[in-house]
Every structure is written in C-alpha cells, then in structure tokens.
Symmetry: D3
Subunit: 265 residues, 6 copies
C-alpha cells in the first residue's frame, strides 16, 4: 500500500496538473482506436467521470462538480491503469437553474445521454463501468438510465461512486474538519477539493451563515426544483463553505483517490 500512497503524493505535488487531460496517458481520448482494442484484450474496465455545471452559492465556483470528478478520475486512472473516458461536464441540475451560470439537462435528456454512452462502451467490449460522480443529483437519473434499458446492459457491471461517500473520507476529513457544517451543497469538502484543483479560483470569506429555511421533517415540504431558490435563497444547502481551504482539499483528494484505488484493486 505504501507505494500507492507515495504515488498519490507525487501526483498531488501540483494538483492543478491533474485537470489537464494532455498529461494523462490513460485517457481514452489520448489513445487511437487500435490502442483501445489492445487495452480491451486485457482489461474491460473503464472510468467515466460525470459532473455538473451549476451554481454553488455566493463564492464557490460553478464547475466544482465536474472539476472534482475529473481530477479524481484522472488520478485514479493514472494510478491504476484503468482507462478513463472523457468527462461529462453537464448533469441533471434543473433545480439550480434559478441561479446564473447553471447549465442543466432535463432528466429524460440525461437518461438518453447515459444510455448512448453505455451502449457505445458495451458494443466495444467494456464490461465494467466505474462511474466517478461529482454531483448528487446525477445519481437518480443515471440509475434510471440503467433501468430504462435493463436487459441491454445485463452483462455489464456498474460501480457508481460518489467520490465524497467514502468511509475514510467521512472519518478523516468531513467529521474531523467540518462535522455538522458539511451540509449538502457547496460543502466545504467539495469546495476545498476544487480550491486544490483550481488554485486561486476562490477566496473564502472570513465567515458565513447559511440563510436556509428551517425544515422540520425531510418528508414534508420537500425541495422540488422550482422551489429551490425559495428554500435556499443563496443556493447553499446548510453548508459552511467558508471553512474550505486548499490544504484540506489536498488531504481530501488524497483520501478519496486512495479509497477509490483500493476499491478497484
């Protein structure tokens, strides 16, 4: 295990380099068609980073979800040798459309989009799809896409990984640094990761108080798309992003990359 950690440390010396696909020999985009065919003879796995382009409140940037998924996926790909497909930078984020900068796909569009990508991969012989997801709202429609054409994809395996849902990350980062201030959208964990991957893109305020409504029971008054802005006036869901730092972002990247690599081992 030591060697893996050392390699992660090496990669994270300059995290912003992770965002450059030109640096990654394991990007499907950087292989020729015959090279992909060669890869398939010995490995049928492929990583697909999926994210979103959507508002993250008053300070964090709109690209967080695809930036985090892409950076982590490229790192995992380089460390494990599993091929990585190009990132899908847009996702199901209709509930964020009330805020400038959000670019969202309707659920039915997203379902068809995922069906087409999975169908392409299956045709070539890929048999395990490792989805590295950066946006919670993608999970429902992604799984719906698999349900929509259940029989067609019956001979494939799918690992749907929300990068921030990892036991170690939960314990060593979220619980340790943010605890109940983590919240659900524009969380300090994801914001920190984006600060590490795009240094200089954000300057956190000294403090922040999230103005959301009180919600007594999650079953009632459930947040639907058109009500999002009413419930969460500045776009943040019970998270204190002001706690984010680039240093924690590097730690979180290391932890999540490590755990995902172990899952793929």
């Amino acid at each position: 295990m030591k060697s893996l950690i050392e390699n992660i440390d090496l990669l994270l010396e300059k995290p912003s380099e992770l965002m450059n696909p030109a640096n990654n020999k394991h990007c499907l985009a950087n292989l020729s068609s015959p090279q992909v065919a060669d890869y398939l003879k010995k490995d049928q796995r492929i990583i697909l980073p999926i994210g979103s382009t959507e508002q993250h409140g008053p300070v964090p940037i709109t690209g967080i979800d695809h930036i985090s998924a892409t950076g982590i996926a490229y790192a995992v790909s380089q460390l494990t040798g599993v091929l990585c497909a190009p990132p899908l930078n847009y996702g199901m984020a209709m509930h964020h459309l009330g805020f400038p900068g959000t670019m969202a796909l309707r659920p039915t569009t997203y379902i068809n989009l995922i069906c087409d990508l999975v169908s392409s991969l299956k045709r070539h012989g890929f048999r395990q799809l490792v989805i590295i997801n950066g946006h919670g709202g993608n999970k429902g429609p992604f799984l719906n896409a698999l349900a929509e054409r259940g029989d067609e994809f019956a001979d494939m395996d799918f690992s749907f990984i929300n990068w921030w849902v990892m036991p170690g990350l939960e314990k060593n980062i979220i619980k340790k640094y943010f605890a109940e201030k983590e919240g659900y959208h524009a969380t300090p964990t994801e914001v920190s990761v984006a600060m590490a991957l795009v240094p200089g893109s954000m300057v956190m305020p000294a403090s922040y108080k999230c103005p959301q409504q009180e919600v007594s029971n999650e079953n009632v008054g459930w947040v639907i798309p058109a009500k999002f802005r009413e419930y969460y006036p500045d776009g943040v869901m019970r998270a204190d992003f002001s706690l984010s730092t680039e240093a924690i972002g590097r730690e979180a990247l290391k932890q999540s990359i490590l755990e995902i690599c172990e899952l793929l081992a």
Copy 2:
C-alpha cells in the same frame, strides 16, 4: 390529539375496510366535478397514493407497495378531510422484472405519467400535492418528473412522503421489533402493514435467512436493474420478512397514519 388517535383506532378496527374506495367520502373519484370545484374553494390540497406491483420475495405478496400507500392515504384522507386522488398502482420497478408478477414502468414513462397527473391537478387549482408513496424506487423518477417541467409546477408545493420514513415509526416499530432485520425490500414493517390490510393473504414461515451477497461498500458493485436477481437471488434485500405479523401491522399503520395526519395539520 386524543380525538385523532381515537378516530384512528376506530378506522383500524377493521383495517381491510380501508382498502375499499367505496367507503371513503373523501375520494376524488366519489365526487362529481362540481363537488371538486366546491372543495377547491376552501382547500387546495390533494393526496396522491403511489405504489408499485412487484415481487417481494418468496412469500410476501406483489401488491404490498400500492396496498400500503392506498390504505394509509385513504385513512389520512378520512381523518383530515383532504381529498384523495385514485391510487397509482404501478411504479418504476424495472429491477424487479426478473421475478414473475412484477409489472413495471420505464423511468421515462413514469416521468411523463407523473407530469400529466400533476399538470391536470394544477390546471384545476390544486396547489399542494401530498404524495403518499409505498415504493422506494418511485422517489427518483417522481422528483425527476418535477425537474423535467420545473417552471410549469413552480407555483405548487409538494410533500413527498415515504410512509415508512417517520421518526415515531422508526422508533416505536422498526427499531423496537425488527432493528437490523428490517432490511430494504420485503421489510417486516411493510409486510406487516399489508398483512393487516389484506388479512389472510400471507402465511409467514417460522424463520427465514436472506441469501443476498455480501456488499462491502455501497458505492461499489452497486445494484443495477439487470443485476438485481444476481445480487438478491430470492428478491429480498437483507430483510427478515418472517418476523411480520398482522398485529404489528396494525400498530405500524396507526403510527404512520398518526404522524402523517400531524404533518398535514
């Protein structure tokens, strides 16, 4: 509060009567169009019971999800006077199609179906839709339907209630009787409720051991539709339905109905 509990007890003297729409004066189906118009002048809420018709393992019946949603919705309707729309007996259950008796809608079909029902209700002036849901798999596509046409439904409120996700029910029923044997599909709580609503429909075995695979991390090897039967060979998801009894079912009904009525108060 006493009066409400008394009324619930009265209703639950013969729970199977709850399943008969002919007994319920607050069913939209039992009103004429002008009577609906009159109701709308003083109340703009409506309850919609949604369920599914799907396998629940070797013994529990296929109708559990719409039976439970319908029985609870009819009771809540009678107790609160909030109008109840006819139950939607079919849901998004593609992952159960490998087992006989399952009748499932594709996610895109379900999205369009919900859009049409909500659009109809909005047109007449309903402004709060209280969804009483009996099938976990409906939540994703239902919320996606609201996202699909976010702007159109912006002036409506939605309460999406999974009847089994209630603090009191969790504490007084699930934790008390089943704890870690509750599981995720064909749970003793939902089976008990169906036993109370359709007496005599099921005879529980003396004991049961769920044959599902070990899954170490929920993010990896995630259960997708076409793999469901492989992961859960008999259709049950880590639940011990053999603990179900009609008596617990009545208790659970009482608890869930009570909590939902309080939410609507």
Copy 3:
C-alpha cells in the same frame, strides 16, 4: 349456466364489496411472486381493468369509469378464476380537462404506459390479456400501443372488452330502460352501475335536459379536445343520467358480468 348466475347473484348481494381488492383471492396483487409463477403453469390469461378519472357532468361522480371497470373485473376474476391485475385508474381523457376533477394522460404517455405493462406481462409468460375497459376514450390509444410495438406482442392474444358493449346488455338494459336517452358520456347505464358499486355517492335529480349543441353530421364539426366544453357545456354527451338507479345498476352489473364470463369460458 345456472351455477354461474347463482354465483353472480351471491356476489351482487353487496356490490360495494366488489370494490375492495382485499376481498379478491384472484388479484395478482394478493399473490406472491412464486404463486404467480404457479398460476402461469396452468393458465396464461390475465384481466386488466382500465378506466379513467374524469368529469361526468353536474351530478355523476368522476371515478365512474375506473369504478365500473374494477368492480366488473374483480367479479369476473372471482367467478372464472382468471387472475386480475391492479386497476389502471387513469386514462386518456384530455377532452375532459376543462372540467374540475379530471386527471388525464396524454395519448403518447398512455401508449408508453400500456406498452410497459404489456411488456411486463409478456416477459413472465402471460399470453392472453383480457382488457376490461370503462372509458371509451381509452380504446384508440390502447390499440395504438399494440400497434406501436406490433412485433414484440405478436405472440399474445388481446381481448379488448368495453363492458357496456354486450349484446345482452344492449337488449336487456340499454334498449329496455334508456333507449335513445342512453347517449355517450355520463350515460344512465354507467351511472347506474357506479351507483350500485358506490352506494350513496350520487343523488339523481328528478329530471335532466342535456344542453348539447345540435350536430347534424358526425363528420363535420367533430368534437376535438379543446372544443369539448363548447359543444357539451355541462360535460354530458346527449345522455339523460337522471334515469339512473342503483337497482338498474345491479341488473346491468349482472348482465355484463355474465356475458364477459361466458366469453372467457
């Protein structure tokens, strides 16, 4: 034949009990998945009650079409032993949307919905689908669903039964009691049946005169959805529902149930 009539009489002693699925041992919803599999070894038929939730003029209730289809289907199921799927309470009723209480599906939604249900049944081995329909407007889109995926359903038989289109019913009920006052929507026959199935839900006026426009030729000025309310100001199509009685409803139920049972014999 005598025995069948006796059995029908028995069932009709308390017609409202027919509406309760908990009373019906032949509901698919009340069987477990293995029980459905057992049934399929000896019988590949299944009944599907389809209806609608829509206005029926100033007095008759909105649920008539699914109430009648459900009551008749449950009775036929109990009398013949043919399994009965859960009722589909919503139908293609866009032309009634101008009146409060109508909940309608678009034709394309309905087509996809029916395709999914039939596809589910086919997968399990059902080979004859007996549709018991309570709403004239469903027939077109239902048959279109079968056309939409003609090849997929080629090895199944379909019996599409409008319960009110039966030679005996025509002669012994419609011609006898209502003749030219039967009309096309909110007819005294269907209203009577609903009065029998949901006793006390309607009080008929002493007399009624339908205010519809004169239409000289059915080919011209054809009624399209958006014009429905203009042509039929109170939602009734040339029918005198005031002639409806609970007693005639029981007779009509008996007659229709008898004829459908004979067809399935």
Copy 4:
C-alpha cells in the same frame, strides 16, 4: 345545387385528371407565399387529404387510401375554392405491415407529424381544418394528436371527414350495390373509386370469397396489429372487392364529392 352537380360531372369526365396537382389552381402547393397570405384574408379554411400506403388484398392496389382522399380533396377544393394542402400519402397502418408494399408510421410518429402540420397551419392564421381521410386507421391517432396538444389548438375547428361515411353514399352506393358485401378493408366502394381515379390499374376477378375467420363478438379476439394476418389471411376484411367497377367508382366519387361540398357550403 344544379350548378354544383354540373360542375362535378364536368370534373368527372376524366377522373384520372383529378390526381394531377398541376391541374388544380387551389392547391396550396401551386400558390406563392404572398398568395397564401391573400387567401387567408378572406378564408381561413384549408383541406388536408390524408391517406395511407398499404396492402388491400390479392388484387386491389396499395395506394387506394391516399388516391381516394387526394382525388376527392382536389375535386372539393376546385369546386368550393377552399385551399387544399398537399396530400399526406402515409398513415398509421402498422397492422398491414405483414403484407408487401405496406409503408406504415407508428402511432407516436403519426401523432407528432399531425401536430407539426396543424401547428404550422395555425401559425399562419388558418382556423378551420377540413381533413379528408381515406384510411380508417388514421382517425384514432389523428384525434390523439389533437388531444396531445389540446390547448394549443383550442382556437381551431376541425372537420374530420371519412369520405365513405356520408348518408347519401351509404344509401345510393353502398346499400344499393354492395350491402353486406361491403366489408371493412378493400371494400368494393373504395376499390371502385380507385379504379375510376387510376383507370387500368386493376382487373377484378370474376368472383371472390373472403377467407377470414369467424368472429362471434367484436369485443373478444379483437384484431391487433400482429395478429392481422392470422385473422385475415389475404389482407381483406369481409369485403368482396370483386364487385368493384370503374363505373360505380365514378358514381361514388360524384356522391361523396357532392356531400362534402354541401357540408362546406
């Protein structure tokens, strides 16, 4: 009325000329855009001939349904001055696909197609659409298209005319010449009309016996698409097309054109 009959006689001296759009000054296709705009200032009606391309049994030709609709529509257009849109030569004929030469649209395709054409016409200011239909199977999906977008088309009038459903035609042609041998598909009336419009295209056999199954009740064993060929082995539905003649075709054309013109008067 005399003058109209004389004009029809004149047109029918050489019926095959009716099929040539180049002969018809009232074809929308033969007008420039500004000429259409001028027409709309004084008349907002437009005729749309819709047909099908489908098998009609062992001898009659595949184009009958669009040939008859087109010929009649062009004649009515010339006689009344109402503009005529180009014929839609393809229709919803999935149930005929088992026979060579049939070219069929799925119901959902047809619904979208009609929506687009009606939407185009509405945009320019047309307010009454007179559909002259040559194929029974089109009626369901055409009306469904109007239901699909009910609100959008609410300010338009629609006259859906099956050209063969006219009181005079029924009495003077069908009852007189064919009676119970008329049948439902490849009827001698429609075949005769096509013989008049495309002289020399068919040579009728001396006699013909339709080999279709006995069907005791139209509600059971209903003909669905994939079963069509099984029920009607040679594609004919209880019709004796061998009775068709060019002379009767001219009579039928005259009668139908006359009655439709009177409806538009």
Copy 5:
C-alpha cells in the same frame, strides 16, 4: 444512350403529365401487394421522392421542392423500371415557418418518420433506397434518421440524390444560364423546373434584386431558423428567380433525369 434520351424527350413533351401518379405504371401505389412481392423477386430497389412545402419568396410557389422531386422521380421510375414510392410532400423546413404557406416538420418528427418508412421497406425485402430529394434542408435530418438506427439498416444501401447536384446539370444549366445568380433558395433552376411541371403557375417579374444581408463569413452569423426572416427578408437566399423560364425548366429536367437514370443503370 440514344434510346434513353429519346424516351426522356417523349416524356417531356408534356411535362405536367409527369405529376400525375395515375400515369405511372411503376408507382408502388398502383400495384397490388402480390405485384410488389413479384417485383421484389427480381429487383430490390425503390425510389422515394422527398420534398417540402415551404415559401420560396415573393413569386415562386410553395410546392417547388416536392413538385420537382416527384416529377423527376416519376420520370426516372418510368424510364428505369425501378419502383417509386409515394412522394413525401412535407419536410424539415422550420426556418421557413415565418412565411405563410410553409408547413414544416420538426427534426425529431422527421427522423422518426423516415425511420418508419425505411423500416417498412426493409421488412419487405427492399435493399437499395434511392432518395430523390427536392429540399436541401431534408438532407441533415434524413441522414440523422439513418444514424439513429444504424444497426437496423445496416444491410441496406442508400443513394441520397439532391436532383440539382449533378455534374452535367451544373455545367449545362446552372453555370450556363444563371452562374452566380443561382443562389441557394428559390433558385432559378428549381423555379424553372417547377414552371415546366406546373405550367402557368408563376409569372416571373421582369427583374429582381435579392434584399439579403451581407454575410462575410459563413461561419459567423450563421442563419438559424428563428433568424431566417431577419437575414432574408423576402425569403429568397441570394437567388435571382426572375431568370427562370419554362423552357430552361424542361432542359434542366431532361439533364437531371438523364444523369440520375445513368446512375441507376
């Protein structure tokens, strides 16, 4: 080759006769289903004329695109004996909807429509589809239809022929008579052909100056549907239709028919 030219000359003695399907023995519409089956035993090719109904500026008629495709397809069919399907008179012409008389299909409608027609033909055994197209805007969505269901149509050949894109026509007609005044929409070549096929339908002005905007680079300010009328105020795209004559139309017809026949030889 001489004989072919002589035959073309014969056909073009009265070009308007080309528009009448009743004159064409090789129309699929004029054959019975068994005759189509016989044809398929020796030839698996079929011609499909596709056009549009859309504005062509201040003088040329709206039907030009389907008139030209139909006339040429019927001629080629008669000369080569290749069967000709009924013309599709409507196309993807959304960008012309701002002008009266245009009847346009959305791209997704058009894609589904073409898929259904090709699927029908494939089912019967046709293996080469010769599309004779009269409207530039159809090419994109037609090829997209083939992409949409690539695998299904993999064993068919497609020849997509824009009738005005022929080397001989380019040299002998366009370059010779119109050169840079040909333009892109309402071109003198297509207008001339329509004048020959529908004599008397248009009277050209003595001269015409196209009022379109200057566009420096085709990549910028690209014409999208909703901007069409802004860029091309009178609907003409850099073409001088006033140069059109019936005589040139006959020449162009001859040239295009000849070249297409040679391609099919």
Copy 6:
C-alpha cells in the same frame, strides 16, 4: 492586430497548457454564480466548445475532435475575454461506432442535449452563442436542435464555427501543406493540431495510403452510418494523416485562433 498575434504566440509557447481548464480565468466553470451575473451585465456572449470522442483511423487518437475544439476555444476565450462554457466531449458520431473507442450520441439525444444547454444559457441572459466545433458530424444535429425549438431561441444569435473552415487556414495551412491529401476524416490538419495540444500522443508512420473505395459521384452510394466501415475500412476518409507534424499543428492553431478572434472582435 500585432498585439493579438503576440499574445497568441505567447499562449502557444506551450500549447498543451491550453488543455488545462485550471489555467483559464475565462472559463465559466471557474467563476461563481454572482461572477457570471456580473459578466452578463457587460457581455452576453459565451463560447461553447463541442467535439466528439471517435476513432480516427489506425494511428490518430480518439479525442482529436474535442481536444482541438477545447484548445482553440480556451485560447480564444483568454484572448478575447469572452466566457467559455465547459467542453461537450461527446457528439453525434454514430457512423464511427464500428471502431473501438468511439462513444456516440444518437441524433435525437444530441438534439435534446443542445436544446437544454441553449435553454439554460438563454434563461440567464446570454444572447450570443459562439459554437467552436471540432467534429463535422455535429453540425447537422446542432442546427436541428435550433430548428426543433425555433421560436424559443428566436432572440439569440448563433455563430457556428467549424474551426478548420477559415479562409486563412485554408490558404496558409491546408492548401500549402496537404492540398488534395487533406481528405475528410483524420485529416492531417486536425491530427497536427492534436499533436501540438497533446505532445507525444501520436507517432506518425513514414507514409500512408488510404484504402477507401472509389466513389464516382457523391450523390450515389452515399456513406451512411452502418456502411461506414465497408466504405472506409480503416476509418480514414481520403486523408493522409502521416503528413501531420506537431510544428504544423502549432501553425494551424495560431491561424485558426487568430481568425476566430478577429471574427469576435
């Protein structure tokens, strides 16, 4: 103009840096929602790079089309200050699916995807969309998306730029270095650009001869998706990619970036 060229030269000192979104201050993804709102107050333009992931023959890499579009778009964005949306890395490439590594969207999926992205941008107030496209096959479905919802997008301007279709590039690069060896897919121009942006990803063979079929007339035997591999056995369309060099790639980048910047000036 000199300053712009100097700036381009500066950017191209290390072209692979262009691929890193972390380096680009004008990426929408690197701005917060309020920063996007601020931008919109002074500029309503946005660049959208669209590409594809598809085979490019035996040696060139699969990502060429999105790599080239992204690199050029990021450069133009940095040079002009126009905001750049995240790249769309997948496109309409169904005809390349026969070769490993291709990931393609169906035309209808692509149309809906583009509609959603454009609709999102319009909602926020963007009024000019500058599409920088790297894949010829995207143009048809992209424009179809704009046609699909013509009215909705009527108040936006669109510049659809195929980066390789620029007068200066044509003259100074294509004509000069490759002339008739440029071809249509896996062209030496696009391959050279990708070599410059992803150094070391490809090693060109000493020479190459494209094995494609002879095609005498582009109208006949047109290449449809399912036939692509038959017509172009190694995936290359009449192009000699072996002429590609990193140095020419830098020249081509400079030329194309320059011309696009001038267009946006």
